[in-house]
Each structure stands twice: as C-alpha cells, then as structure tokens.
C-alpha cells in the first residue's frame, strides 16, 4: 500500500510539469492514475516460486520469495554491461556441460536472452551447442518428461541409431 500511495503522491507533480496548469493542481489526474495502475503490495524484486494450496472450496495462490542458490558464485564484474559470455568465454565447446547447464531450464529448454543477458550471436551459438550436447547424451538431467509419464532409465534414446555413442568435431 505504501508503494501505491507514493505513486499517487508523485502523480500530480508529473502532471503539473507536463500540462503546466495554472493555479492549484486538481484531484482528477490522481484518480485516473489509480484506475490504470496495476495493484501490487509485495516488493517486486528477487526470485519467486508460485505455490497453490487448496482447502475445500478455497484455493490460495502464493508467490513465495526465494534466495537464489547461485548468488555467491556469480562473476563479479567491474562494468556490468554487455554480454558476459563474450567477455569471459566466447568460444564454448559442446563438452563444457558445467557452463551450458547454467543456461537451461529443468526440461532442457534454453532460457531467453532477457533472463541470461547474452548477446544474439551467443544465444544462437548456445542453441547449437546444447543440441549437440543433448545428442551426445551429456546432459541427462536436463531432458523433457516422457509423454507416458514414466521416468527415464537411460541417458540416451533407445531408438535404432540413437542408442549408440556420438561425438562432434567442435
């Protein structure tokens, strides 16, 4: 609520600057602002996990704030601008699974650039590298669930030519 009130207080100042209205600021723009603004009480920063609990007829959906596990191990940069991969390790290989697994979701899908902060070219390169690593069976944890719902037994598919070892040049 504090946040909302602060925004409401700030709104007439903005309107006064833009409109350059003469005399005392009116109440109308404040009311308009309240209608358009999204309602939020909790602080909007940090990692979240959404949990859904049902008690009879009541369902409660809660966004719990978590502490990120990787916070103490992140590279500390002097200038936090630009692509981190280009600066530190521009030429990855498909065998660098400890790095590739950082850019993945649990189901093996690559995270978007808005989250990871890599440049367009590196994102393109990561796509091919992750594909190669999956083909070689180097990322057994990061695979989508089977349609049948059964757990996976092998780190590679058992289909005809897909069950044998594969390697890539780069």
């Amino acid at each position: 609520m504090l946040r909302l009130i602060w925004h409401n207080l700030r709104a007439p100042l903005h309107s006064a600057k833009s409109a350059t209205s003469i005399g005392s600021p009116s109440i109308l723009p404040v009311v308009q602002n309240v209608q358009t603004r999204t309602f939020s009480v909790s602080s909007a920063a940090r990692l979240k996990q959404i949990e859904q609990v049902t008690d009879g007829n009541v369902t409660k959906i809660e966004g719990k704030i978590m502490e990120s596990e990787r916070a103490p191990y992140v590279f500390k940069e002097e200038e936090p601008k630009g692509c981190t991969l280009c600066k530190i390790h521009p030429y990855l290989k498909y065998t660098d699974v400890l790095i590739l697994s950082q850019f993945l979701r649990e189901d093996g899908c690559l995270l978007p650039r808005q989250v990871t902060g890599v440049c367009w070219g590196q994102q393109r390169r990561l796509e091919t590298l992750v594909n190669k690593a999956q083909r070689a069976g180097l990322l057994p944890q990061f695979r989508p669930a089977l349609k049948s719902g059964k757990p996976r037994t092998n780190h590679r598919s058992n289909y005809k030519w897909k069950r044998y070892n594969v390697y890539f040049r780069n």
Binding site: I50, L139, P140, W161, N165, F168
Partner: protein
C-alpha cells in the same frame, strides 16, 4: 655369440598391443592401429620383412561415430554375381555384429595388396573388455587413444556443479517454475462443426 642370437629374436618377435575403443571414432582409430599391424613403428621396418605386431581391440561395441553417421554412413558389398549388391547403414551393421564396423574401417585403411589378409589376422576384436587369458597374457603395452572422452554432467559431483562459477544471477521478479504452469495447461477440446 649367444647374445647376438637372442637380440635377433627380440627384435623380430611379435609384440602384442592393447587398444581401448570405447568412445573412439573407428575411422580415426584405424589410422592409429594400422601402423602397428604393419610394423611401421619399428626402426627395422622394411616392406619385404614381415615385422608386424598383434593388436587387441576391446570395447568395440562402445565406439562413437561423428554427428549423424550412424544413420547416414553405409557399408556396401558385392558378391560378383549379378544381383549380388547389398548395403546396410552403420547402425544396422553394428547391431548385427558389434565388431564389424571396426573391422571394416581397419580393412579399408590397409592398402589392397596380398599382405592385407595376413595383417587382418593379427587384429583381435572384442565387443567387451572380456578377453580370454591366452590372449591377455601376451599383451605387453597399450596404444594411446585417439580422442578425449567427454564427461557427462551426472558424472560430476554436486559440489563441482554448484560451486562452478556462474555467468549470471536470476533477474528481478523471475518466476522459476513459470514454464511448468504453461505446460500443464489443458488443450481446448476441438469442436467439430458442420
């Protein structure tokens, strides 16, 4: 001069080598194995003198092929009679006999002369690491592998994975399992309208 006679025996004796083919390309490892069969690694080599060695290749069922080669690479054969042509892709050949791909790749690497069949007799292929003791007792040394074996992510320990330097932290207001809700959403039923 008994010592000279013994030195002669030792120089021309056939030594036995071990080669582990697990996660190795058969075509590249043929380049490594064939000189040992021919005896070209010896200073006394001469094409007219028969100084080749034995090579024991193990784990041939675990050989690795590049990219899409298991599906696309084909082995051909012709009996010489009309209609005697046949071909099979590499995975199919490997399924029938797990030593066959390695054998054919070494065979094709050796020059097609009268020595070829004799050299192939000294190549001993085994799908597993189970070797009969008669052969294993002869082995004196091993041949170096052709390419490094990649390590899987589950072969690292948990500490190594968590404490490895990270490239980015989770951004502000990032929902970690947001994609799961998207995936579990039910598909709308299709309505057939005539």
């Amino acid at each position: 001069m008994a010592t000279q006679r013994v030195l002669q025996w030792r120089a021309f004796a056939r030594t036995w080598w071990l080669y582990d083919a697990a996660n190795q390309c058969p075509f590249v490892s043929a380049y490594r194995v064939v000189p040992y069969l021919q005896g070209k690694h010896k200073p006394i080599f001469h094409p007219l003198s028969d100084v080749g060695d034995h090579v024991v290749v193990i784990n041939t069922k675990d050989i690795a092929m590049q990219a899409d080669y298991w599906r696309t690479f084909t082995f051909f054969h012709h009996t010489g009679y009309p209609g005697g042509f046949s071909k099979a892709s590499a995975w199919r050949v490997h399924e029938i006999d797990p030593t066959r791909v390695m054998q054919l790749s070494v065979y094709s690497r050796i020059k097609g002369n009268l020595l070829r069949k004799g050299l192939m007799r000294r190549l001993h292929l085994f799908p597993d690491d189970k070797i009969p003791d008669e052969i294993l007792e002869n082995v004196s040394d091993q041949i170096r592998q052709v390419q490094p074996v990649a390590k899987r992510l589950d072969q690292y320990s948990e500490e190594e994975v968590t404490e490895f330097p990270k490239f980015f932290d989770w951004p502000e207001d990032f929902v970690k399992d947001g994609y799961k809700r998207h995936m579990t959403r039910k598909k709308p039923k299709r309505r057939y309208t005539v």
